[in-house]
């Protein structure tokens, strides 16, 4: 048991907590005997849910935390004031090496704040980016930064590219992933002040595979393994992705209900369509890690159901097993050395 990978899970974060969170956690421990899930939250609430399942008991631990941070609360104040909240308690466990990772479907702002302020950054990392897996026609791409801090500097984008590459290679199993800058044209001279300053830096960067600029149009087709941007643009991409998909499917659905003929047709296509759209479903790829911290913090969708929680726990297992954080540390320790010898 000593060597198990310990993953703290926010039992009260997300729209479907605690039921779906606990269900997802149970599934994860059943699937992999080498992990231990620490469910963090109000004890009675969690025990009530756990009663519904059978699972290897030594793989499931309960860590009491009486308070809950809602998505409406201002993140910094909530983290400061609610010391016994699941998010603060779990983040402290990661900081104190009592957990290897922390998974939450709760308030994005609070999770990002706790990650940065409590868990803390790896030495040399200027800013920890939130790296979000997005579905594409080919599978998935990693979009970063989607975090809360906008207007990043070129040097920070280079670090995002390096951490994103290590994540894609180690956790998502993409060998030698290509990194592209999100831009308004593919030519080097195109773009805004930030992309123009970042392009030459990435060209010189030896530990990533830089593939140039990518236009937003090519993201859904899977035009790059890693789509690099600052958080304002990242946020727009992420939310528009969701908005256009939602609206388009709603328009299609409405269309299917306009006549008897189309209603019958809709019944016939339903199973095939459901199967195909699954491949365009981001919950298949787990949550979004906040990279560059002294430990792993992963944010899943607020709407996450059991499957996404399970996937995110398993993704965290891979992250730890592959020593991803050690590789990130090495990467920036190396950079620090290079800098200090100059």
């Amino acid at each position: 048991m000593e060597n198990k990978i310990r993953i703290a899970v926010d039992a009260v974060g997300g729209d479907h907590a605690p039921a779906e969170v606990v269900k997802g956690a149970v599934e994860a421990v059943k699937r992999y005997p080498d992990i231990q899930v620490i469910l963090v939250g109000p004890g009675e609430l969690i025990e009530e849910e756990l009663k519904k399942y059978e699972y290897p008991e030594e793989q499931m631990v309960l860590q009491p935390a009486s308070e809950i941070i809602s998505t409406e609360e201002a993140p910094v104040a909530a983290i400061r004031d609610k010391q016994d909240s699941s998010i603060v308690v779990a983040s402290k466990m990661v900081k104190e090496k009592k957990a290897d990772a922390f998974v939450s479907a709760g308030s994005t702002g609070a999770v990002l704040t706790a990650g940065t302020l409590i868990v803390g950054r790896v030495k040399g990392v200027e800013r920890p980016p939130l790296a979000t897996p997005i579905p594409t026609e080919k599978g998935m791409s990693l979009l970063l930064d989607c975090g809360a801090n906008v207007d990043a500097k070129p040097s920070q984008l280079v670090q995002f590219a390096q951490m994103g590459s290590l994540y894609m290679e180690n956790v998502m199993g993409v060998k030698n992933p290509g990194v592209a800058i999100l831009n308004i044209g593919v030519e080097e001279e195109k773009g805004n002040a930030l992309t123009k300053a970042t392009y030459p830096l990435l060209k010189e960067c030896r530990n990533i595979r830089f593939v140039g600029n990518i236009e937003a149009r090519e993201i859904p087709a899977g035009g790059a393994d890693i789509v690099l941007c600052e958080a304002f643009a990242g946020n727009i991409v992420l939310k528009l992705y969701e908005g256009v998909s939602r609206t388009l499917l709603s328009v299609v659905k409405k269309g299917l209900l306009t006549s008897l003929r189309s209603k019958l047709g809709a019944l016939m296509i339903k199973p095939a369509l459901k199967e195909t759209l699954k491949s365009f479903d981001s919950s298949e790829y787990g949550g979004a890690p906040l990279l560059g911290l002294n430990g792993l913090v992963v944010k899943t969708h607020g709407s996450a159901k059991a499957k996404e929680i399970t996937n995110t726990i398993l993704q965290s297992r891979t992250f730890v097993l592959k020593g991803t954080n050690e590789k990130i540390k090495e990467c920036f320790a190396g950079i620090e050395r290079v800098r200090s010898t100059k």
Copy 2:
């Protein structure tokens, strides 16, 4: 004939020129006796196409221009070197008041450059924004700026909001349109340096209806009549809109071909689906005007077919009939006066 609205149309711009352009122009003059279309391009080529149709001849004029600017050419050099190109000739006609508007499906860069350099800006306008109509669940919204100049200043965004409002009210018939800043959260304090500086300016702006911030997720649902941003973000929204729609429909189509049952179902839903998706088709709403010029320049999609050309010509007619440019001039003349009395 003297009082006809004269619309110069680039006969050789776009993927389907000249055939679809001429077809669209013929349809437009047939529909409205008060317009005159000036087809600009190589004479023989245009005459060849015109032969196919019957139309009121006094409403169709040919303006020879021997050169063609391709989408691959660097815009500024092309405009300078190809003085007898359709884009340069038509832009000069607008400048010299020989045409009231210029419509082109050709190179976006060349059209924007010619508009700014040849036609010229209205006094007081800092930067002419490209305002693109985008389809939403409710109809359409106007996204601006989608032009070539990124990193706009707050004062420029305020001007975009004013011109966009006049366009929506006069040309698209939306009474008292709402303007929202594209942002990563709805709260006033959210965003990057640009949005934070723009928000208070818009709150104070008396000639628009400012409705606050909009997240990208809400754009496809029709969350705001006018979505305000600088061109880097605008470009991302526009191209991602296109990319997600294309990929999602391709994924759906693939799904429909997976079984005999789904293939049969697909045949049954086709007519209804086609009809519904039409409402989500941007070509219904015509082209994107470059606002704030001494005359009207409108860019349509490179892939525009006859229907979109017709719609764009009719949209230009409305623009002129409603005196939209006079209203833009008044708006900024007023601002100039206010400034000079301070």
